[in-house]
């Protein structure tokens, strides 16, 4: 029955390969919460700002992904940015305006905006 394990392993390898092809290993990984609470708090608009920045070519080497509820309801919408060799950053209560500034200062300028992060 080890065939089944092999089958799963090949599925898993393929899944990871596809994630890498989608740019998982980019310099920045940006996660935007995308469950009911997050959307109610305005995560959809925030997502659109990041997506548009990638689509227009303003952002390069950035992997954008949705995620479910992390449990921090009163801080939604949250945006997480994971950068190689850096402490990951979680922004709380992001608005479209804040998202544009995060793109400018953090993703393009390399400087996290400390005042908006969760300590």
């Amino acid at each position: 029955m080890s065939d089944l394990f092999k089958l799963l392993q090949s599925k898993r390898s393929k899944a990871i390969r596809q994630m890498v092809e989608k740019g998982y290993l980019a310099r920045y990984r940006v996660y935007v919460g995308n469950a009911t609470c997050e959307i109610a708090a305005g995560a959809g608009e925030v997502w659109d700002i990041f997506q548009e920045a990638i689509r227009s070519g303003q952002l390069k080497d950035v992997y954008l992904s949705a995620k479910g509820c992390a449990g921090r309801c009163n801080l939604e919408p949250m945006v997480e940015i994971i950068e190689k060799n850096k402490m990951p950053v979680k922004y709380a209560r992001v608005t479209p305006k804040k998202a544009r500034e995060i793109i400018q200062k953090h993703l393009l300028g390399g400087e996290p905006i400390k005042a908006w992060t969760i300590k």
Partner: protein, 765 residues
């Protein structure tokens, strides 16, 4: 162990299989012990081994294990290395990343599915005491991508069960783990499975109960929205264990996003061969169908839920026979809650012994709570059983805002009780909570500060259970109503001491004599507040005042007398207990006979659309049990239960109109009247209530000039209340046409309404 075999079966390929991430703590205590030097050495070794593109280094916040500093965590696999030195890095990189074998001599723990430190960085106050087992992937992976799930060892439990375990062995593991039902009652899951597996029958079913009806609870919604595959995987394993080929997920219609995520996940699982005929080429076949609930709290009760799936009014029936003997369509059925199912893959992969090592003597594993009300960090949390309420409220929840004092915590929603400050150190497990007059429940936990009025909270819950009582047994139907009357009297300053005594007697009687859990637990909010906050009741009666100032307004303007029923009985109770007969022509607009008025073309278009929907249902194997599904579709297409659509359903699937109306009036979600263009639903869940939902309702009612349940004359707005929208962190909330608006104030509410109004007028309609 087979999962170990799997991990090591191809070590040379390990690097290609995984993208590793290493988290290293650089907080002061780790830095002091040389964590920066370790990181620099690690970076060098990774570069030397040519793994720069495969291994990411993350700098983390404190991991809470300073005695083992410096610490490294390698994911996937959650391998925790402690007391590492720069000199160890050559060996570690070679062993772990080149050969794919963790370096045993430095490993502290490894190989747990769960994410103890939630991505291993930051926010330690909130995540530190948590243990995210069923929520292991929530907020971590993309819930709409099966690739993300596979990458975090998704479907490994299923493969392990199918490849190396017999159904009996699976059941034994679940039994040994000590897992108990997370829906509230806490029945041992393994025993339930065993009883069902033992029944001789040609067909069996598994059901996932996602009818999360408690106001103030959103655990199941979040779990499904964040990680739908783990619930599906749990159900497939359950099906394999008991010999079922079919599973149903019964989920609230109020959760459209969760439903969509499940649909996507089921489709992906089918494409990958995890669901459907001959799963992964084995002899085992299993598939899952989604059934929508329609807004009836009692359907969380298992027999009621089963009747609802069958297309009936969701009323409980006497047990025995238990669902394990005669459940869905008369066949043996296992019915478990969302969280219970999400635990199953963890137990199978990690083993029953490991799971049983978590928690207390009688309650194993973890429990998810929806933390809401007067607490700083509202949110979804998961803690090991045995964590105290104090830790939950003050450490995870961050305490009470505005420097107020803690007054009580309410667990278990309308079925639970209020826990006063003196029991803050009670460990959370099934028995301890029952001992102090509350219940574990499904996981709602509402914190109340010193300004809360307890008789008023009890009244709030009784209003809920009174409305949701299905009306089948007298003690519950009449008892909840009488108790609500007495509470209303007390809250309006008209109660007597005899009322308090009567309340206690009635409560105990209803508890003893009701058929199902709803009635048996409905008096809990009264009995527990009477026990711990009796002086507040007495103050209302003897001084005719509310010590908290909550009820004062009611005392001035709302005299409630014994006979004034209009103030205490919401119309839906009437509908539910009396509306079994066919409504008259005038009230529904239904026309009998062949004389049909000319239908406008808009309606004709909808008719055509509905025709195709119903044709596919009528052609299916059991059209009659599709009744509620068809009504959902009719309401989707027409905006309400249009009379002609109902007649079509009646003709095509062979159900009488009387039955259809019986079902329609049972469920809150269905409307027999046309709705306005914007359907406003104000959340009246506990969290929203505590944070001022009644005021929002009042504001809306004044702004729109209509009462709850009515539609404005211009057909723009319909105002209704919802039991709970499940967005408690943003309380108070309302939903307009599927979109939720949170953190409402009076001004914000008016602004939102005006925006909608001008948008509609702007479009020229």
């Amino acid at each position: 162990m087979d999962n170990k075999v799997m991990k090591q079966s191809n070590p040379a390929k390990a690097v290609e299989e995984h993208i590793y991430s290493i988290s290293i703590c650089e907080e002061p205590s780790c830095l002091k012990k040389g964590s920066r030097e370790v990181r620099i050495a690690l970076e060098k070794e990774i570069e030397k081994a040519g793994l720069k593109n495969k291994v990411t280094i993350l700098i983390s916040g404190c991991l809470g294990m300073c005695e083992k500093a410096p610490l490294l965590i390698v994911n996937p696999g959650f391998t925790l290395y402690g007391n590492v030195a720069p000199d160890d890095m050559t060996e570690l990189v070679q062993s772990h990343f080149v050969k794919g074998q963790p370096l045993a001599r430095l490993v502290v723990t490894e190989d747990h599915l769960f994410n103890r430190f939630y991505r291993i960085y930051g926010d330690v106050a909130f995540f530190g005491k948590q243990m995210r087992l069923t929520l292991r992937n929530c907020g971590v992976i993309d819930p709409e991508s099966i690739n993300d799930y596979l990458a975090v060892r998704g479907y490994e439990a299923l493969v392990k069960a199918l490849a190396s375990m017999t159904p009996t062995q699976v059941i034994d593991q679940i039994k040994k783990s000590g897992l108990r039902g997370r829906g509230g009652a806490g029945f041992p899951t393994g025993t339930k499975w065993e009883l069902t597996a033992r029944e001789p029958a040609n067909e069996k079913f598994v059901i996932c109960n996602a009818d999360e009806g408690d106001p103030g609870a959103f655990m199941d919604r979040s779990a499904i929205e964040g990680d739908p595959h783990s619930i599906i995987e749990g159900m497939i394993i359950g099906g394999y264990a008991i010999g079922a080929k079919k599973g149903y997920i019964y989920i609230r219609a109020e959760y459209p996003l969760a439903v969509r995520r499940l649909q996507i996940a089921i489709k992906q699982a089918r494409e990958h061969g995890f669901l459907g005929d001959r799963i992964l080429g084995t002899d085992f076949s299993f598939d899952i169908e989604i059934r929508l609930g329609a807004g009836a709290f009692v359907c969380g009760e298992e027999t009621a839920l089963i009747h609802s799936i069958e297309g009936e009014r969701g009323m409980p029936t006497i047990k025995p026979p238990y669902p394990s003997q005669r459940g869905l369509f008369g066949k043996p059925t296992v019915i478990n809650n969302v969280e219970t199912w999400a635990n199953v893959p963890v137990i199978i992969v990690e083993g029953a012994d490991w799971f049983a090592s978590l928690g207390t003597a009688g309650s194993k594993g973890t429990k998810v709570f929806a933390l809401a009300g007067n607490v700083k960090n509202t949110g979804l949390v998961e803690v090991p059983m045995g964590t105290t309420i104090r830790e939950l409220v003050y450490d995870v929840g961050g305490g009470i805002p505005n420097n107020k004092k803690f007054k009580a915590a309410q667990t278990g929603g309308p079925s639970g009780g209020c826990i006063p400050a003196e029991f803050l150190d009670t460990p959370i497990d099934y028995e301890s909570l029952a001992q102090i007059g509350s219940i574990m429940g499904s996981g709602g936990l509402i914190v109340m500060d010193e300004t809360a009025c307890m008789p008023n909270m009890a009244r709030f819950f009784l209003e809920f259970t009174m409305d949701e009582s299905c009306g089948k047994c007298t003690p519950c139907r009449e008892g909840t109503r009488r108790m609500h009357e007495i509470l209303s009297r007390i809250c309006s300053g008209q109660g007597t001491m005899e009322d308090i005594a009567q309340l206690e007697r009635l409560g105990n009687m209803v508890k003893r004599t009701s058929l199902c859990g709803l009635g048996q637990s409905a008096p809990n909010p009264i009995l527990s507040t009477l026990k711990y906050f009796r002086n507040e009741y007495v103050a209302h009666v003897t001084h005719k005042t509310c010590p908290m100032g909550v009820c004062n307004k009611a005392m001035q303007v709302q005299p409630v007398t014994d006979v004034d029923w209009s103030l205490v009985a919401p119309p839906s109770v009437e509908a539910k207990t009396q509306c079994l007969h066919l409504p008259t022509t005038s009230s529904t607009g239904i026309t009998h006979g062949k004389e049909q008025p000319i239908r406008p073309s808009v309606l004709k278009q909808r008719d055509a659309e509905f025709e195709t929907v119903i044709a596919s249902a009528a052609g299916g194997p059991n059209p009659r049990n599709q009744l509620i599904e068809m009504m959902h579709r009719a309401q989707e297409i027409y905006g309400y239960l249009e009379p002609n659509a109902l007649r079509l359903i009646s003709e095509r699937i062979g159900v009488s109109m009387a039955k259809i109306y019986g079902v329609a009036t049972f469920y809150h979600f269905f409307s027999l009247k046309p709705k306005g263009r914007f359907s406003i639903s104000v959340c009246m869940g506990t969290a929203c209530y505590v944070k001022g939902a009644p005021k929002i309702m009042e504001t809306l009612s004044n702004t729109l000039g209509i009462n709850q349940g009515e539609t404005t004359e211009d057909m723009l707005f319909t105002l209704t209340e919802s039991r709970c929208l499940g967005a408690c962190g943003l309380a108070p909330t309302m939903m307009i046409n599927g979109r939720i608006y949170g953190e409402l104030t009076e001004a914000k509410t008016i602004e939102i309404i005006e925006k909608h109004r001008s948008a509609a007028i702007g479009k020229g309609s």
